[in-house]
């Protein structure tokens, strides 16, 4: 129970980012012609932001559903790596618990989980975190879809920065503490800038993050402890 509460507390700061992006998604989805119910159901069932943004943009452009499904697979393939990491910490949990927790493995839950300090009950901790993130994402989507006609488009656009601001704020403490992490982050960003010109829609993100991690693994360790 303590770990569950700890999970809720850990997720709280990121939730505002999730709600904000959820609102942006709700607005984009309704712009693309989805109803509020369809947009919210997509968030509740798929639970993968970037692929959902990709999907509604493709729907708006009349792209074939097969392309959307294949694109979604590639965009979300990085969750395989993330889930391997998460499941490694949940080794001793029951299969059903792991399969439920796997449903909400996403960039945010994974990052919070992997950067968190040691917990006595990782499954409850992740459960609390995922519950908060999932609720924020879905309610944000519904709010965005319903607010579609109320919020000025300029404010909706401004909210697009929210998730990036949250990502930056999660990354900065490590960047300040470790030159090596700084180097790895710059390397990965540059690789991704290059790759995003020749491929896109998530594939560049998968390859960049893997290339960055290979690069990092090949580098010698710092004498000062690396935050990991």
């Amino acid at each position: 129970m303590r770990s569950f509460k700890e999970g809720i507390k850990t997720a709280l700061p990121v939730c505002i980012g999730m709600v904000s992006v959820g609102i942006s998604f709700g607005l984009s989805a309704c712009n693309a012609g989805l109803s509020a119910i369809e947009a919210t159901l997509m968030s509740m069932i798929v639970v993968a932001g970037s692929s959902q943004f990709f999907a509604v943009e493709m729907i708006a452009n009349g792209v074939s559903p097969l392309i959307i499904i294949v694109g979604t697979f590639f965009i979300n393939l990085r969750h395989l790596v993330m889930s391997t990491y998460v499941m490694n910490r949940l080794k001793d949990e029951s299969l059903i618990k792991k399969l439920i927790l796997a449903y909400v493995v996403c960039d945010e839950s994974f990052t919070l989980f992997s950067l968190s300090k040691k917990q006595e009950d990782y499954a409850s901790f992740l459960g609390g975190m995922n519950l908060m993130l999932y609720t924020s994402w879905c309610s944000g989507t519904l709010a965005g879809a319903l607010l579609m006609n109320v919020v000025s488009p300029k404010l909706a656009d401004a909210l697009g920065i929210a998730i990036y601001a949250a990502f930056i704020s999660m990354l900065m403490p490590s960047l300040k503490a470790s030159r090596k992490i700084l180097l790895i982050v710059i390397f990965t960003a540059l690789v991704n800038v290059f790759l995003s010109t020749i491929m896109g829609n998530g594939l560049n993100i998968i390859i960049s993050m893997l290339a960055g991690a290979f690069f990092a693994t090949a580098l010698p360790d710092e004498n000062k402890g690396v935050i990991a």
């Binding site: 980012g17 989805l34 559903p65 979300n76 889930s83 391997t84 449903y103 990052t111 704020s169 982050v185």
Partner: protein, 100 residues
Amino acid sequence: MNIYLLIFFMMLVTYIPRAFPALQSKKRKLSPYWERFLSFIPYTALAALIFPGILGIDSSTPIVGLVGGIAAVAASLFNFPVILVVALAVIAEMIVYIFI
């Protein structure tokens, strides 16, 4: 295709990679190399998700994302909590939109 069918298949192709590691045998132990490799993924994933995606939040004007990003970096340097960093970045964006 029906939108609900599309949502279902999107869920399927998303959930399979998420669930696969859970189905692996319980005693699975990664080698130190892969443990180390995976420990760097959070940083590289964040890096790849932020850049250059942040420049595309307003596809016609990359400066919008840039200003928001700089605001977020500046706020983070002061060790502000995430909520405040997000709020300041959004405010910075709204100011940018007043000027462009």
